[in-house]
């Protein structure tokens, strides 16, 4: 059964899209990630124009992160004050990102930049995760205790001015690194269609030394609002949010996620991380191959344009 996607302007098999949404939902439930970084490349592999894939991916992120955010809110594991500072940076970052997105699109370099960013990001994050999880598995095999994270010494980040007290996180921290982190993640959200949790969570833990118990909830809090804002801005400046595609993806995604969570609880942490790392690397490699092999047609034509 085919369904016509009005904004992507092509007909797709609805079962492929449902399957994609369910598979990514399953993985995101299993690994506790948003899934934006998988959904966008998969859509691109399925010939959805990257401009539409990114904006629609952000819409899917809203759906997949909101239930997590609600759960954390009920449990009281969101530092709203910290989240608001992150969000402030995130909104500015998303605005700049959408502006860059439009600029690159006019220049005809958007598809290339999206692919390159994915290759770099997925390659490095996947590589690091694989390295770390293999190390943990080796230690577990030798019965060595896994290294506990030490609270660590203060680094230069903690010497920055404009300090603020975040009561829930029990830290006293400059707003500069927090807002900067939010800004960078916001830019990634609007250019790549990802929530950015897979970068934000480690950055909050290792760089900002924020207690682990509030990290996931607070990052979800920021992701929900920044991705919702991105969808709004993309819809009103680039007209690239495909509501039909997004809806099919999110319905399949939220159901898949429920089953993913159940399977995830039965697997061991480091095995889970190694699997996710392999998956992330595979997607990155596939995108890299597409950049390198000679294209079928070196020419392409689009309507519009201003002659530069």
């Amino acid at each position: 059964m085919t369904v016509y996607l009005p904004i992507a302007e092509l007909s797709v098999n609805i079962f492929v899209i449902l399957g994609m949404g369910a598979a990514v939902g399953f993985l995101s439930g299993m690994f506790g990630v948003g899934g934006g970084f998988l959904i966008t490349p998969l859509l691109i592999f399925y010939n959805i124009p990257p401009v539409v894939a990114v904006a629609t991916g952000a819409n899917q992120v809203v759906a997949s992160s909101i239930s997590g955010a609600i759960t954390h809110f009920r449990r009281g594991t969101i530092d709203v004050k910290l989240g608001t500072v992150l969000l402030g940076g995130g909104l500015v970052g998303a605005t700049v990102g959408v502006w860059l997105f439009s600029l690159l699109r006019r220049m005809g370099q958007l598809d290339l930049v999206i692919s390159l960013l994915y290759v770099v990001l997925l390659g490095s994050v996947g590589g690091l995760m694989l390295w770390e999880s293999l190390g943990a598995m080796r230690k577990a095999a030798k019965n060595l205790p896994t290294a506990l994270r030490r609270p660590g010494q203060h680094i230069w980040i903690h010497g920055l001015p404009l300090k603020m007290r975040f009561k829930k996180s029990k830290i006293y921290l400059s707003v500069i690194p927090v807002a900067t982190l939010g800004f960078l993640i916001g830019m990634l959200t609007s250019i790549m269609g990802v929530g950015g949790g897979f970068i934000m969570v480690p950055a909050m833990i290792y760089l900002l030394r924020i207690p682990t118990n509030v990290v996931v909830g607070t990052s979800l809090f920021q992701i929900v609002f920044v991705s919702a804002y991105t969808v709004l801005v993309q819809a009103s400046t680039n007209y690239t949010v495909d509501i039909v595609l997004a809806f099919v993806l999110m319905i399949a995604g939220v159901i898949g996620a429920q089953y993913g969570v159940r399977v995830g609880q039965r697997l061991r942490g480091e095995q889970l991380r190694a699997l996710l790392a392999l998956l992330v690397l595979a997607v990155g490699i596939r995108l890299a191959i597409d950049l390198v092999i000679p294209p079928e047609n070196v020419y392409s034509v689009v309507s519009g344009g201003f002659g530069y």
Binding site: P6, S67, L291, P295, N297, Y299, S303, Y308
Partner: protein, 271 residues
């Protein structure tokens, strides 16, 4: 046969009785034809086509008649008709990928000014055999003679031909530019029927049907009709909403995501 003739006559009467649509912008060529007796009349049953979302392309039939013809020449088959359907115009940018450090990157680009988004041509024979190629080219009939003027172009023009060819090829491959040298048929001595193809991805807007009459290789008369193509259905409503009400559309998309996510967390809640 008789029924179809009657239908045809009705269509022709309609076409004559409804000259509203017939006054589309014409090329100055029409001035030179005053010395000929022949006149061309064309008609379509409607000036608006509503296309549903499951549209997979269709043939549009245009009826026409030649008035004031020379019976001898007609009997010898010296009259030829070319019918084109030209879609709304927009700029089009062609880009060319080149290898840079092993990666394929869009490097050169060229924007052509106001080219039709769709173009279908039908004729009684191959247009190259209807009139001298230079005349056909001057009149801009056919994809090969379409005016492709680069916008804001500063280069030396050495790659102009390359980009024009690429543009034509890409548009023909995607099916929005088509030709059918046999799509116009005489159904009686001076009545003809032309079928032009509406591609599956036909653009919305005002399309112009043009008919050209040639007598023994000479351009004699032309006529134009405009045709409004309106897409209908849910998908079209969504596209329109996305472009006309982008903020409301964006809010709806976010709301849909929020409800789906929240609904799922309620539905699958364990505690």
């Amino acid at each position: 046969m008789r029924a179809s003739l009657r239908l045809l006559l009705t269509v022709l009467v309609l076409a004559v009785a409804a000259p509203v649509a017939a006054q589309a912008p014409e090329r100055p060529l029409e001035r030179q034809i005053t010395s000929f007796n022949e006149k061309l009349e064309i008609g379509i049953s409607t000036d608006e086509i509503a296309i549903t979302s499951d549209f997979r392309g269709a043939d549009l039939t245009i009826f026409g008649a030649i008035d004031g013809f020379d019976p001898n020449l007609l009997a010898q088959g010296k009259y030829n008709v070319v019918v084109t359907l030209e879609g709304p115009k927009d700029n089009a940018t062609v880009r060319k990928k080149e290898r840079v450090f092993g990666i394929w990157v869009n490097m050169q680009s060229m924007t052509f000014e106001l080219v039709p988004e769709a173009y279908s041509l039908s004729s009684t024979r191959d247009i190259a055999t209807i009139a001298p190629p230079r005349d056909i080219a001057n009149m801009g009939i056919g994809v090969d003679h379409m005016r492709l003027v680069p916008l804001g172009f500063f280069g030396d023009g050495s790659n102009l031909g390359e980009f024009r060819n690429a543009f034509r090829r890409l548009r023909e491959e995607s099916g929005v530019y088509q030709r059918d040298p046999g799509g116009v048929q005489f159904i009686s001595s001076s009545l003809f029927k032309a079928s032009v193809r509406l591609p599956a991805n036909v653009p919305n807007g005002i399309h112009v049907v043009r008919a050209y009459l040639f007598r023994d290789g000479l351009f004699v008369a032309a006529k134009a009709l405009s045709l409004r193509v309106v897409k209908t259905g849910l998908e079209q409503a969504i596209t329109r909403a996305a472009h006309d009400q982008p903020v409301a559309y964006g809010l709806l998309a976010v709301a849909l995501a929020a409800i789906t996510g929240w609904g799922a967390s309620l539905l699958f809640r364990k505690d």
